[in-house]
Every structure is written in structure tokens, then in C-alpha cells.
Symmetry: C2
Subunit: 383 residues, 2 copies
């Protein structure tokens, strides 16, 4: 790769530019908004597009305009290989087929990096966004090997892992693992809009995790969901089937507003539920267990590979600095850190993740130095 | 507190015992399963129940049997204050009222610590499980102050923060922030059961977060959901309303099995959707934004209230200590920290969250000291 043009300097386009620049590749930046292109340039993602011919063009615009932009780029630069990073692939390929000649089509290979953040725009970009992530490539038997090699070289440069999939298979898969979960998280979070503050104040990490991606951008997601409507709808119909079964199982026959406890025998909280209702509820949770177990790397890498050492610190300036200085003196490398602030207490709960073999030693060394280190947690393997 | 009896040595009961033991309180352990009681004892949570009179009895059994156990304990030990940790409070109180005398009722104060793990049982217990967490107390005007003080002393010993709520208010609140999210996470995870492995392999952190609590125990959750059926159902009906609207908005009129792209104009991926459908989808995501913003606590609020300053550090022992020492010298208080590792590179990306008014100053001061501080990211409000 000598010269790569990036069309669309949002989160993904700018992140790709940043990383290409670390490898010395010449990067041309184009965006419908000159301000956004200038921001990406200021961040170090490349230089303004001067119309030079390119080896590779990466289209990183929203999915509803990607087809037109891909076709325009294929026409404009007759030597370039063109790829895109849109999260829908089937509909997009059809659009490009309708707009491009056969010769132009030979130069187009759709792709989709499975990476993102709940923040968007060039300012959220980072050159390491794609490291270790799957990057779907939608080539087929007609794809010229030299063109495919260019796209694979891009993926390798990003530190990502290429995954070859059919466009329709891709769309069905991302509907399940990305698009439908977005809808579900948003719908759950929306139930909090009119909740009393004292009630929402009881929220724990479970609710935070379920709803974290509900912070995502409405405009972009309306485009993504629209572009993969049939597949997302299919998954959501499955969710609704399950939801209907749960709602039916929870029906005490008294209406949602009635006092659920009236007339219930002591010790038989579920007596007013229909026969089979409890088994239905347990079945839904059990099916969730089974589905969850299918997710690779589900616990997050840091939690799996590293052991947490919990330290209680005063919630005051400098206390974290003293803690990390102490850990540095002890000579242990910190792999990850989580800080929680105790509700209503001037106390921080710091979880320092380290290599399992040094966790006990670190805990002991910190205790000897007067740090408050509660009894170590067991690793997941031990529980 | 001299002697506390814990009835039910699962995750919560054993965790309470572990912490009471660190304070030298005598803890008696009872469980319907002698094996489970012995496991809790072996973990250091207390000694076998010998029938001694107690100051305080903590009932930590599943919610469907809690009422009977509470009533039995009130009768057995006529001097003891009895509390419980069940996640339903309204129905339980009614059950206890049906089983206990007025004098016995005066000694019962229901409570509920907002803490847990997706793992269950004594082996998952930790004495710091409750630190900084809200702990709901359901006392009323008839509660003798001396009895209430005993329960508050327990909560204080656990490091938790008491929150006084009416039983019915509590049940409605936990339906929203805990019970319904459990159902939603399980239903989403269940959609992965028959997904092809290559598809699930595309999963990212978003799906992992949405489904993390889907790993929870079916039996316990069937009991919890049954015991709070009306309130959970009410929240789920709200989710279903939203889900129906999304499913309707995604209807391309071609059926879920049809080829969504057929006959679509190039560049108009959403052309086949009904008028208003895209706005409906954007509205659902926007409502999710709004609901998510209402969740107090760490990674929601910390990210919003505080400004991240990103620093690139060598991934070696001591480098974090030097960084935090420098920040301490600069005199800035750290509110939160996130560390990401660039896989395969000896580099850590540290996000230090601070008060917005000092973020720029901190970035400049760190740069002057030779730290690698890339261009500051804008806060979410600015993106």
C-alpha cells in the first residue's frame, strides 16, 4: 500500500487513517463535511484528498449512502480497489451491482470490522481500535486475488483477523450479535425514563451492563437497523415470542395493577401463577445460560486472564497515586484497573488486575505497607 | 452484635458471615442442606448452629421459602431481631403477617442488599460483596428503634449504605433495575442458542455486556420472578410495547424470510420501510439514551461528569505508578481510570477521568513532564 484514500472520516475512517499513518502509508482524507475531514487531519489521520490515484479506497460512510459512494469511487479512480466498512453487506452489494459495471464490480470487495465504540466521530478514533477484532471480508470466486490481497493487507495492518463470510450470512449474524442487542438494550433503558430516582438509585452493575450500549447514537443506528431490517426483525420476533411467554407466565390473573399478594397462602409466593409458569420462567433463564455460553471470550479478556486484587482507598487527591506508586515499588505490572466509588462514603474500591501468579504476593506486600486489602477473591476457575 | 445466626448459606448468607467474622462477631450457620452449611463453615463464615439465643437472625434463603423461615425463626428465638435479604419485600411481608403474632412481627424488619454476582453459592461468597452498595431497609412507624438499630448496625458492618423504602416501592423499583433486565438479558442470550458458530464468533463487547447476567441461576430466578410477578410483568409489558413498535417499523412488507434487497433503489436501503419507520427507530434509540442517562454510578456517570485525559504509557512495572505520582504532584484528583492494552504491543492506553475544568490543565502539565498525551478527546456532550 502506497496511497490509501479514506472517504468518510468518522470513528472508523479516522481510526483506520491513524493506524495507516503509523506505518508510513500516505492517507488521503475525504468527507462530505470539510470540517470533519479537517478534524481527522488535525488528529493525524492523513492529509486532504488531492485527487491522486490510489491503490486502495476505504469507504467509511453511513450504510444508507455507502452504495452510492462506493459506485462513485469505482468510477472516479479506475485503478483502485474499493472496500467499505459498513455493518450491512447484502443490501449494499445489491446496490453496488445496480450502479457499477462488471469491470468496476471486480474492484469492489465489501468488508466489515467488528469494532466500534458507543461514542462516534473522529474525536473518538484510536489507531488500535481494530486490534484483535474479527474483520469480515465478503469476497467471492470472481474476486481477483490481487484485489483481495490488498484488502487483506489493510486488515493485517489494522491488527485485525480476517473472517471470510457470504454477505447474507454476515447480515444474519450481525443482526443477532450486534443489531438486535442494540434494540434490546435501548428498549430496556427506555423503561427507566420515568422511574423515580430513589428506584433507579438501586441499580447495580447488572443493569449498567445490560444498558451500556443504549448510549449509542440514534441517527447512525436508525440507518443500520433500516439497512438490515429483515434480519433484525427476524431476531426480534424470536425475542418477542420469549417475552410473550414470560409475560403470560407472570400473569397472576389480577392485572398488573392489582395487589399480587392478596389471598396468597403463606410460603407460596407463586401459588397464584398458572400451572407450569415457574418451569416456563426457569426455562427462559436456562435458555439464556445456554446462549450465553456460546459467546466466545464472554467474560472479557482482562477478567479472565488476570486476577483482581481489591484495595480500599480514601477518595481523596493523591491516594490513587500513592497506591500505584506502591505497586510500582513492589515491582508488579498492572494489567487493568477498575475503580468504584462507594455510595455515600468517602471511599474508593480499586480492583487492580495482575498476573495470577503475583496476585497473592501483591496483596501481602500491600497489606504490609498498610493498605486495606480485603481477603482475595477466588478466581473464576476456583469458584 | 454478639451472636448472629445466618439461615441459608448461599452467596449472600455466606458473604455476610465472612464479613461478620472479620469483626469478631460470633456467627452461627444454618442451612436446609448440612453440606452447604459445612461448606460455609469451611470457608470461614462461622460455626454450626448450636441453638444458642441470638441478637440478630439473618434469613438468607430463596424468596419462596423466606416467609416460612422468618416466621419459624421469630417463634424459635423470642429475643432475637429477624431480618432477611430476599429480593422481594411486599409479598414476603404479607406472608410473615399471616404467620406471625403481633409481638413477633415487631421483631421482624425486612431488608435487601443490592449486591450479587451471576455466580451463586457459598463458593462465590466474598466478605466485601456489599461495600458501597445500597441496602434497602423496610421499617415502618411501628418498628421499635432498638430493633432497627440492630439491622442498621449489620448494614454498617457490611460497608453498605442503608436506603429506607416502602416494601411495594422497593418491589416496583427492583422490577425495573434488576428483575426485568434479567429477563431481557436471558431472552437476548437465548437467541444465540441455534446461531452458527462463525456468526457468534463476530460478537463484541456490546453483546457480552448485554448478556452477562444471562449466566444467572435458573432456579433462583424463577423464584424471584414468581415472587414479584405483577411488577416485573408491568415493566415487561412496557418493553413489549416498544418491541412491537420496532418490529412494525422494520417490516419491509416482504416477510422475514424474503430477500430484503429485491427491487430496492440504489442508495435507498430504507426505501421499502413504511413512512415514519426510520424516525420510530431513531426514537427508540434516543429513548434508550435518555433512560441510560438516568442510571447513577460509575461508568455511566463517571464518563459523563468527568473528562477523560488519555495518556500512552509503556506497559512495564512502575509506569502507572510514575504516572499517578505525577498526577498527584500536579494536584489533580482522579475520579476514574480505564486502562486498555494494545494487544501485541508494549503499550498501555490509560484514560484518567477528572473534573472537566482541570482536564486541559492536566493534559498540558503531563505533556510538559514528557508524558505522551494525544489530543484531548471531547466529552460526549461535544460529539
Amino acid at each position: 500500500m502506497n496511497t490509501v484514500k479514506i472517504v468518510g472520516t468518522g470513528l472508523l475512517g479516522t481510526s483506520i487513517g491513524l493506524r495507516l499513518r503509523t506505518r508510513g502509508v500516505r492517507v488521503l482524507l475525504a468527507d462530505a463535511s470539510p470540517t470533519m475531514a479537517a478534524l481527522a487531519r488535525d488528529m493525524g489521520a492523513g492529509e486532504p484528498d488531492d485527487g491522486s490515484a490510489c491503490d486502495l479506497i476505504v469507504v467509511a460512510v453511513p450504510p444508507d449512502v455507502a452504495g452510492q459512494v462506493i459506485a462513485a469511487e469505482l468510477r472516479r479512480d479506475p485503478g483502485a480497489t474499493v472496500t467499505d466498512v459498513a455493518s450491512i453487506k447484502g443490501l449494499l452489494l445489491q446496490q453496488v451491482r445496480g450502479l457499477a459495471t462488471k469491470a468496476e464490480l471486480d474492484r469492489y470487495i465489501g468488508s466489515h470490522p467488528m469494532a466500534g465504540r458507543e461514542k462516534s466521530g473522529a474525536v473518538a478514533a484510536r489507531h488500535d481500535l481494530f486490534i484483535g477484532r474479527p474483520w469480515v471480508v465478503c469476497s467471492d470466486e470472481d474476486t481477483p486475488p490481487g484485489r483481495l490481497r490488498q484488502v487483506l493487507a489493510l486488515i493485517e495492518t489494522m491488527g485485525a483477523t480476517p473472517v471470510h463470510l457470504e454477505p447474507d450470512f454476515h447480515d444474519a449474524a450481525v443482526a443477532r450479535v450486534s443489531h438486535a442487542p442494540q434494540v434490546i438494550a435501548s428498549l430496556m433503558a427506555a423503561q427507566l425514563v420515568d422511574a423515580p430516582p430513589e428506584g433507579v438509585g438501586l441499580a447495580g452493575q447488572g443493569l449498567r451492563d445490560v444498558t451500556r450500549i443504549a448510549a449509542s447514537e440514534p441517527g447512525l443506528w436508525a440507518r443500520i437497523l433500516s439497512g438490515n431490517a429483515a434480519e433484525v426483525r427476524r431476531v426480534l420476533l424470536g425475542v418477542r415470542d420469549g417475552l410473550d411467554r414470560v409475560i403470560d407466565a407472570l400473569d397472576t390473573g389480577e392485572g398488573a395493577g392489582a395487589d399480587a399478594g392478596a389471598g396468597v397462602d403463606a410460603g407460596a409466593g407463586s401459588r397464584t401463577l398458572k400451572p407450569g409458569a415457574v418451569a416456563e420462567l426457569a426455562g427462559v433463564i436456562a435458555a439464556g445460560n445456554e446462549g450465553y455460553d456460546r459467546i466466545p471470550g464472554k467474560h472479557g479478556q482482562a477478567q479472565r486472564r488476570f486476577e483482581p486484587v481489591t484495595v480500599l482507598v480514601d477518595d481523596s487527591p493523591g491516594s490513587l497515586g500513592r497506591l500505584f506508586a506502591a505497586i510500582g515499588e513492589i515491582g508488579v505490572n498492572i494489567e487493568d484497573v477498575r475503580i468504584e466509588h462507594a455510595a455515600g462514603q468517602p471511599l474508593g474500591i480499586v480492583e487492580v488486575f495482575v498476573e495470577p501468579r503475583v496476585a497473592h504476593e501483591l496483596a501481602e506486600a500491600l497489606r504490609r505497607r498498610g493498605w486495606r486489602v480485603p481477603v482475595e477473591r477466588l478466581t473464576e476457575e476456583n469458584t
